[in-house]
Symmetry: C2
Amino acid sequence: MSISPRQLEERKMRQERILAGALSVFKSKGLDGATMDEIANTSGFGKATIYYYFKSKEDVFSAILVDGWKNIWESLEPVISEDSSPRTTFVSVLIKIAENAQNRPGLFEFLFDVPKAIKLDNQPWKEYQNRLYAIIQGLLDDGIKQNEFPQINPKLMFKALGGLFMGLVFMGDKKDPVTDKDIESLLNELIRDPKLNN
Amino acid sequence: MSISPRQLEERKMRQERILAGALSVFKSKGLDGATMDEIANTSGFGKATIYYYFKSKEDVFSAILVDGWKNIWESLEPVISEDSSPRTTFVSVLIKIAENAQNRPGLFEFLFDVPKAIKLDNQPWKEYQNRLYAIIQGLLDDGIKQNEFPQINPKLMFKALGGLFMGLVFMGDKKDPVTDKDIESLLNELIRDPKLNN
DNA sequence: TTACTTTTCGACTCATCATTCGAAAATATA
DNA sequence: TATATTTTCGAATGATGAGTCGAAAAGTAA
């Protein structure tokens, strides 16, 4: 007999506890500023115990991001494989991401914002990130071709909508979360569908 | 006799040389990743010499940002005090910033992008940054009130335009710089002036 | 209870810098 | 030229913090 299912589960819970503590430390201090001692204290373990569960500080950092992106991606897949017009799918994707972000606000801000400044050899989460960006860019490309969006350089459109979307999602206070309708109406207000002329 | 004007000027040039070297190091390694040794080598001085001109690594970092923002601000002031409609002034401000960015691309990307992740006690450049953001936000507020922009939450508009603008400016390759017309036409295409109905 | 595995941890090691020192070179001044 | 000031720098200093060690506690199984 080696390891019972319960043991495995407990182990995973401890890992998650560590990651939660680490997230809060990373968010306030950054990757370099965070110390393993502080992560250990915050998550309620001794320093050496952290190393029992993770190989290195960077490993902890990585795990947070990979975990987070994996979740996003799983919730996104059904929406993407839906077979609708680019603009419709686009809106659904944004709404789905916003939902995710609402569930774990601290995490998602981190996911999208923080890792820009980071210099690591392995950035396994980048793969998810790039895949998502590629999808969105593709939807914009197609949407513009099909005249569902204004005729603008798609890459620019991407940047603009990126800023807009981040603003929308991370601005929504906890009390006043962003609704599906918010996203849809904002997008329709700001980025007109040329085929409708209201 | 203490210090001749030429001496002062040379001193300033040496400081600038250091800042230029430091910028390139900070850009590739970040504030924490950069070492004084590397900054010294890159800028062609001995390490101790850097300390002759600057109090600390953070001081070097700060100086880069304060310098940069001071320049932006000086070039911006005349445009802002111009007395035109919010939308017009808004466009002029963006154009002026884009011009600045074109002159020293490396610097401006740093100015707008990097310091988000930084944790320093004194962030004197923040004052400039906030002043600029306040101006822009004010222009948007007024523009929306005067119905020169779509009726959208001004803070959201700010975020969206922020993303758009960054994309525009920092995307423009050196070969194919962004022109005034680019900015103006893009803005007019994407963000309609409700008073014109084309 | 006893033997075995998993988990926990504080103290230690070791490398990496930021910063300082003190002396020398270069330059200015008389 | 002789003296004073400014500039330069490599070598020490000291702090910090990532990662390791070895032992003990806690849990499991018989």
